[in-house]
């Protein structure tokens, strides 16, 4: 067994050495054509080409919370509102931790349902989905003043269409940062 591992390691080291060795020794590849012409030619008279400098490109800083928190959408089975999937629990946990860390942050938990069934029931279903997430966040120590809950029922589908796939994408809760202060 030990012999086998040793042999494997020797082979691996030999391959790595071969690759790195090749890259060191073959600096000048005979197939590479080296041009001696200057890259910038003198502009013809009257024509002015602007050279874009990298300095003129603006870098918009991405809000930290969007990077650190990742997905903000939780999906549900038909007529369901419990949060069972580990990935969904992780999303709620991340948002809870963020809200606990940044006192001024505030989220709006927006509940949605698919188009099937009664509109008023779907409004209640969306609200129950949002309220369930709010309850978990409260258990995680988030202040209730940091959480706003609203349901749109079936009115704001994420995708249009009447099939199982679109329905499953529309049964969701979106956690969004609210612009309104506490």
């Amino acid at each position: 067994m030990v012999v086998k591992i040793l042999v494997q390691n020797i082979v691996l080291i030999s391959i790595i050495s071969l690759i790195t060795g090749c890259s060191m020794t073959n600096k000048k590849d005979p197939d590479v054509i080296v041009t001696t012409e200057p890259m910038l030619t003198k502009p013809t008279e009257g024509a002015v080409d602007k050279v874009t400098s990298a300095d003129s490109i603006n870098l918009d800083k991405i809000d930290e919370k969007e990077i650190t928190l990742g997905s903000n959408v939780i999906y549900y089975d038909y007529n369901q509102y419990s949060v069972d999937k580990p990935l969904d629990k992780k999303i709620i946990k991340k948002y809870s931790e963020y809200l606990n860390k940044y006192d001024e942050a505030m989220v709006r938990i927006e509940g949605h349902a698919d188009e099937r069934g009664s509109r008023a029931y779907n409004l209640a279903l969306g609200e129950k989905r949002s309220e369930t997430i709010k309850e978990i966040m409260l258990i995680n120590g988030v202040s209730k003043n940091s959480i706003e809950v609203v349901s749109y029922g079936e009115e704001n589908p994420a995708v249009m269409g009447t099939n199982d796939e679109t329905h499953s994408l529309n049964r969701r809760v979106e956690i969004v940062f609210s612009s309104t202060g506490k």
Partner: protein, 424 residues
């Protein structure tokens, strides 16, 4: 099946000032329909016989109970004031509505007589005075009601109204409109418009106000609007979300849904005391309250046993009792005016359809064929159900008789229509 298509051009004075076209299609079962003739004679300064005849004919034909015959075969006898039953029998009609418009020294009136041609007797005869403020459509619907009730024994519904929500998606932002219209689709008025969602319209017991849910404050809230004045009042002050309003028949209470500790519960607002009483208490969803006739009991949708089903409960005391057991989904119950039936949204694995449930017999009967049907409400006489359906992914309204004899589709060009509710 006989098909009638009415195109009604309505100018909605809206943000757009464009014309919206209301299309009404009627599938009428001719088999079993009673053969009938209608003839209106005479005219006055303001009213013509053709106007009355057309409206009454559309009403009665659209009821599904009558087949209107061409009266030209007996036209020679029509202007004769005498009854000529022997001749009228030849037309094949069982009933003959004969009316005359009079203009006697400026006093305008319409007299109408319903004849039973088979029995050779007059069933009813009335006179209606017409003044300058008379609405020809209202007068005609009144005549239709009298004729319908005289022959069938069932209360006519031709002068009733519907409320519904439409969405205009042609602009950058959706425009939601709350409409009130006559049941034949005429006189449609958008009584409230918003760029935020509107839903769940419901009539007050006297049909003079409409309660509905508006998202104008970025959450669902119940507003009450008086039809005559346009005055709007929010039901509950503050920042509370509230939805699914239901007016008690005695006008003292409004039931609604709101959340408590993460659960959706039903509350009752007392208009006099302004108090809000919690009615239900369960984990999960309780919503879509519907009052019993005596304003003491509430029917509602609950998922307390897993799937949504209809339950009932006295609003001041007692435990909830489960009403429906068929299928996997029963919601949005609407009680018939005699208190015997619930219309509801039902699913037994074959899509969401409209069903009628007999409370006494515990028997459920599916009456619609769509897969996305919803928002049922009974006509005031309990013989028809109005609901929302989808046609080529577009929201339309459908009115169908409980026995399936007649089906009317109401469509608004360029706009989705939904959540219809029949007046009382």
């Amino acid at each position: 099946m006989k098909k009638i298509i009415l195109l009604i051009f309505l100018q909605f004075i809206l943000f757009t000032s464009t014309y919206a076209e209301l299309i009404i299609k009627i599938d009428n079962a001719e088999i079993g329909a009673l053969p009938m003739m209608i003839h209106v004679e005479g005219s006055s300064k303001k009213y013509s016989s053709v106007m009355f005849e057309d409206i009454v004919e559309n009403d009665l034909l659209g009821s599904g109970y009558f087949n209107i015959l061409d009266s030209s075969s007996v036209k020679n006898s029509l202007s004769n004031l005498n009854t000529q039953y022997a001749l009228w029998t030849l037309s094949g009609a069982n009933y003959f509505l004969k009316a005359n418009i009079f203009d006697e020294s400026g006093n305008e009136s319409i007299k109408f007589t319903l004849h039973n041609v088979i029995k050779k007797e007059v069933m009813v005869s009335y006179k209606i005075n017409l003044d300058k403020n008379s609405n020809i459509r209202r007068v005609s619907h009144k005549i239709s009601n009298v004729i319908f009730e005289s022959i069938t024994g069932i209360k006519g519904i031709f002068d009733t109204k519907i409320a519904y929500i439409s969405t205009d998606k042609s602009k950058e932002r959706n425009i939601y409109k709350l409409h009130v219209a006559d049941i034949d689709g005429f006189n449609s008025v958008a009584i409230y418009k918003s760029s935020k969602q509107l839903m769940s319209p419901t009539w007050s017991p006297k049909n003079d106000k409409i309660a509905y849910v508006s998202f104008e404050n970025n959450r669902p809230e119940i507003f009450i609007q008086t039809l005559a004045t346009g005055e709007r009042v929010k039901l509950i002050n503050g920042n509370l979300s509230s939805s699914a309003p239901a007016w008690a028949p005695n006008e003292k209470f409004m039931a609604y849904t709101s959340s408590v500790n993460g659960n959706l519960e039903i509350f009752v607002h007392n208009f006099l005391t302004k108090n809000n009483i919690r009615v239900t208490n369960s984990l999960g969803i309780d919503t879509e309250a519907e009052w019993g006739l005596k304003s003491k009991k509430i029917f509602f949708t609950s998922d307390r046993n897993g799937n949504p089903h209809i339950y009932s409960k006295l609003f001041k005391k007692g435990k909830a009792k489960r009403i429906t057991f068929d299928g996997t989904y029963n919601a949005d119950a609407n009680l018939s005016s005699d208190g015997k039936y619930l219309s509801l949204v039902h699913n037994n694995g074959n899509g969401h359809k409209i069903a009628i449930y007999s409370i006494k017999d515990k028997f459920l009967k599916v009456i619609s064929k769509g897969r996305l049907d919803e928002a049922p409400s009974f006509s005031p006489n309990g013989k028809m159900v109005l609901f929302a359906s989808k046609k080529l992914h577009k929201g339309i309204l459908v009115a169908t008789s409980n026995d399936g004899r007649i089906r009317k589709e109401i469509e608004l060009t360029g706009e989705d229509v939904r959540e219809p509710i029949w007046s009382h």
